[in-house]
Structure formats: C-alpha cells, structure tokens
Amino acid sequence: MDEKDQFMDELNHLRNKVIDLERENRLFKETEKKLQAANQQLLASELQMSANEQELMDKEALTRQALEYAENIISTVREPLIILDSDLHVVSASQFFYSTFKVSSKETERELFYNPGNNQWDIPSFKELLAKILPEKTVIENYEIEHDFEKIGKKTMLLNARELQQKKDNKRRILLSIQDITERKQAEQHLKHLNTELEAKTNELQQILYITTHDLRSPLVNIQGFNKELGTSLKELTKLFEGVNIPAAVKERLSLILNEEIPEAMHFITSSTNKMDALLTGLLTLSRLGRQKTFFKDINMHQLIQDVIDNFKYDINKNNVILSVSDLPDCKGDEFQINQLFSNLLSNALKFLDPERPGNIRISGEKGNEYIKFTVEDNGIGIHPHHQEKVFELFHKLDPQKPGIGLGMNIVNQIVDKHKGKIELESEVNGGTKFIIFIPI
C-alpha cells in the first residue's frame, strides 16, 4: 500500500469517525432536549404536587376549623353532652359532662357509659331506656330521671338523645345531652307550693271578710231596731205630754227636744246604719264573688238583658229614660255574674243621667273574631278624664251625693277579669259615657 492509499484510508477512517461523532453529537443533543423536556415535566409535576399539598393543607385547616367550631359549640353548651357508640361505650364527652359529674376523661372514654364515677349512672330505668328504646328509636325527648348520684347527690336530670348519622362507617353514634333540672324542678315545686299557700290564704281572707261582715251586721240590727223602738216610745211620750199641764217655758223646750232634737239624732242614727249596711252588703257581695266558682254556659243575652231591664223598670219609667237594645249575640259566661255586670252598668248609667236632658241609654252587641263586644252607652253627665282611671277602684265614689258605695264598677271589673275579657271606657263630660265589654268567644 502506498502512502497515499494509506492516507486515504486514514482519511476515510477519520471521515467515518466524524460522521459517527456527528451522529453521536446529534444523538446527544436529542437526548439533551428530551432530558430538558423531562426536566420541565418534572418541574411541572413538582409544582402540581406542591399545589396539591397546599390544597390538602387548606382542606386540613378547614377540617380543623370545622372541628374546632363544633368543639367550641359543644364546650359552650352548658348541658353535659356525651357521645356513645352502639354498645353504649363512651366515645367522647364534653367538658361540662366531666365537670358536672365530677369524672375525668380518662375514666370515662372507651368505658361503658354506666361505669364512670363508681357506676353512678347504674340506674336500672336509665339502662333499660338506653338498652331497649335506643336501638329501636333514634330519638329520646325530655326523659326525666331522678337519681341519687354518688358524687353529686340527688338530682333530677332531663335526657335528650339523637342518633348521629355517620356516612362513612356504619357505626351508630348516639349524642346524649343531660340537663340538670334539679333547681328548676325545685323552683317549680316551690312555686306550686306558694300557689297553694296563696290560694289557702285568699280563701281564708275571704272567709274572714265574710264572717266579719256578717258579724258586723248583727249589732246594726240592734242599733237600727232599738232606734225604731225609741221612735215608738218617743211618739208615745209626746202623746202623753199632750194631756199634761206644763209651764209654757218648759213646754217650749220640751217641744224642741221631742220634735226636733231627738228625731234629728234618730235620723242620723238611721242614715248612718243604712250606710254601714250598704257597705257591708257590698263587701258581702264582693266576698261571695270571690268565693264563687265561675260556671260557664251559653247565655241567651237577649233574655238576660231583658231580665236586667225588668229589674230597673221602675227607675226607667220614673225618669222617662229612652232605652234601646239592639240585636245581641249570645255569649259564653257565668249567667249570674254577667247579669250582675249589666245590672251594675245599667244602674250606673241611670244614676249618672243628666237631669237637664232626656235620658238615653243604648245597649248593643256585636260578634267579632275572638270576642263578643257589648256596649252600654248613655248620654249622661260623663266622667272627667282625670277620674276615668279611678272608676274601677274599690269604694271610689265619683259623686259622694249619689247613692251607692263605690263598689259596682269594681265588681264589673272583677267579673270581666273572671271571664278573661276586657273593659274599655270612653267618656266625655256632659256628653255621656260608653262602656265597652269584650267577652272571649
């Protein structure tokens, strides 16, 4: 081989090598590109991953928040709460459960519910309730347990339970709330006791009122009776003196005593005892009203008002009063009391008419949705706005000159109260007075 051939060979060889190298270089570049792409992908995945991680963290935070929220609610609720599983083992309990029943979470959690605190919940009726009712029903509402708890003493507890729905596992969870109603119960008992006492006291008072008024009447019979006896004696005495010769001066004085002074004294005794009697009669009526049981029935109001009017016929005719009664709806009430109510209203309307103008009294009624409304209206002297509130007061008399003792409107008010109704008053001085009574249907 000549040198040239050799050189050519070498050249070829080198050329091939260059080609090889170029190919390798290309390959390398390609690989580098691929690598770069892979690297980018990797970077992207990494980014994705960290994003996912962030999301996860956010979600976890949210879950934690929700849990905290729930726990905060549970720990804020002042009722002890406890969660049981289907075997009645404690899953968890609220802080108030531990503090109320003086047990620790250590001796409570995962234990059978009856056990914590030296088996203080080992109450047969309660066990039965949980064991029998709970498997069938998902709710227990306001179940009362009275029990002497070892650590906290005798208490009344109010139980409420709900089954908690768990989607993930099929385990039953029971949320049990236990409310200590011992104090409430005691307060209720106390209130009941006080009410009974109050009722007894009221009865006693009414009895006293009745007896006193009755006993006070007895001496009045004597005062009035013997006053009249004195009157009879006085007449006889006067007659006896007529036929006797008496010096003129003595006769004059005697005449003054027999005809003026003694009769005047007797007149005041009579009028005072009558007044006293009216007061006592009023008190008796009042005490009877208090003692009476209200007896509700359907009342034919037309008939009742007619009866009331009949009783006042004399006054109505004497004073030429125009009395009109419109259609009256029937109502439910105590017939005797409703009669008294309208009698008192009519009596007042008649009493306070203006003598200067013809009297006009109107009784009307109207059926509403919840109430039957009755109106007694007159064109009398009216009541000054300052006095309107006092109308219903006991023994308040608007006009001391008028007969009566200031009891009628108080009785009216009491009767309206007993019927759970209401009464309104509209009045104008010199214009008249209107009483509106609402009796519930």
Binding site: Y210, H214, D215, R217, S218, P219, L220, V221, N222, Q224, G225, F226, N227, K228, E229, T273, N274, D277, L284, R288
Partner: protein
C-alpha cells in the same frame, strides 16, 4: 193558735231576741216565748221535752250561735223522729244563698232574713205573728 202552745226562740243576741219578742207580742201573739242563748241550751231543753212527751209548738232559730249553731240544731231536730214534726223557722242575718238552701234542704219550714231595714224586719216578724195566730200549728205531740 191555742194559748197553751209554747214558742222557743234560740237567739244568742239579747237585743235581737228582745226585738223579736216585742214585735211578736205587738202583733198580738200572747204565747209564752222561751228564750235560749245558744244551740246547746236549745237542744238540752228539746231532749227534756221529748222525755216529757211535750214537744213545743214552734222553734224560731238563729244560725250563728255559740257552742252548737242553728244549722246543727235544725239537723238534729229533723233527724229526731219525735221532734221532726215541730216547725222550725230560721231567723238570721245571713242572706248567703247557700246557707238558705242548706236550711231548706234540712227541712226548715221558713226562712226569715233579719233586715237592717227595721221596718221590713218588724213587718216580717208581725206577719209571722199573724201567721201563727191564724194558722193552726199541727199538733206535734200526736202519735204518728
């Protein structure tokens, strides 16, 4: 009314008793009126009379009395086969409808309210006197 018939008045208030007696006499009733101050005295007397087989003609009875009250006297009188026929008239200050009903249920013959209004009282007592004058009180001592 026959003169020999006796009227019993059970009334703890001396004044009321005097007023009742005076007015019965004023109305012309001249019978003997025996006054008792309480229910026990009245019952003791009545039991004595049962033994003596001399039942009084009429009992005027107040309700509110010491020891034994009028309602109890009325109850015992009406429960006694010997005394049952004796008319009993309640004279009392009470106008409590329940008390009046109770007396009627127990079998009182009449019920007179002592009104404070004395004219009415006198009127009631006089009418009672007239009634007793006119009406023949049943012979309570006859055998059933």
């Amino acid at each position: 009314m026959k003169k020999e018939l006796t009227i019993l008045l059970a009334e703890d208030d001396e004044g009321h008793a005097t007023l009742i007696k005076r007015n019965l006499q004023r109305s012309g009733l001249l019978n003997e009126i025996i006054h008792f101050k309480d229910g026990q005295e009245t019952l003791d007397f009545l039991h004595q009379k049962v033994v003596e087989k001399d039942i009084p003609s009429l009992l005027l009875l107040d309700i509110k009395m010491p020891k034994v009250d009028g309602i109890e006297v009325l109850r015992q009188v009406k429960a006694d086969t010997k005394l049952r026929k004796m008319p009993v008239i309640m004279i009392t200050t009470t106008d409590d409808p329940r008390e009046i009903d109770k007396c009627h249920e127990l079998g009182c013959s009449n019920y007179i309210k002592k009104p404070i209004d004395y004219d009415n009282f006198v009127d009631a007592i006089r009418k009672l006197g007239l009634f007793l004058l006119i009406v023949e009180v049943p012979d309570v001592n006859s055998e059933v």
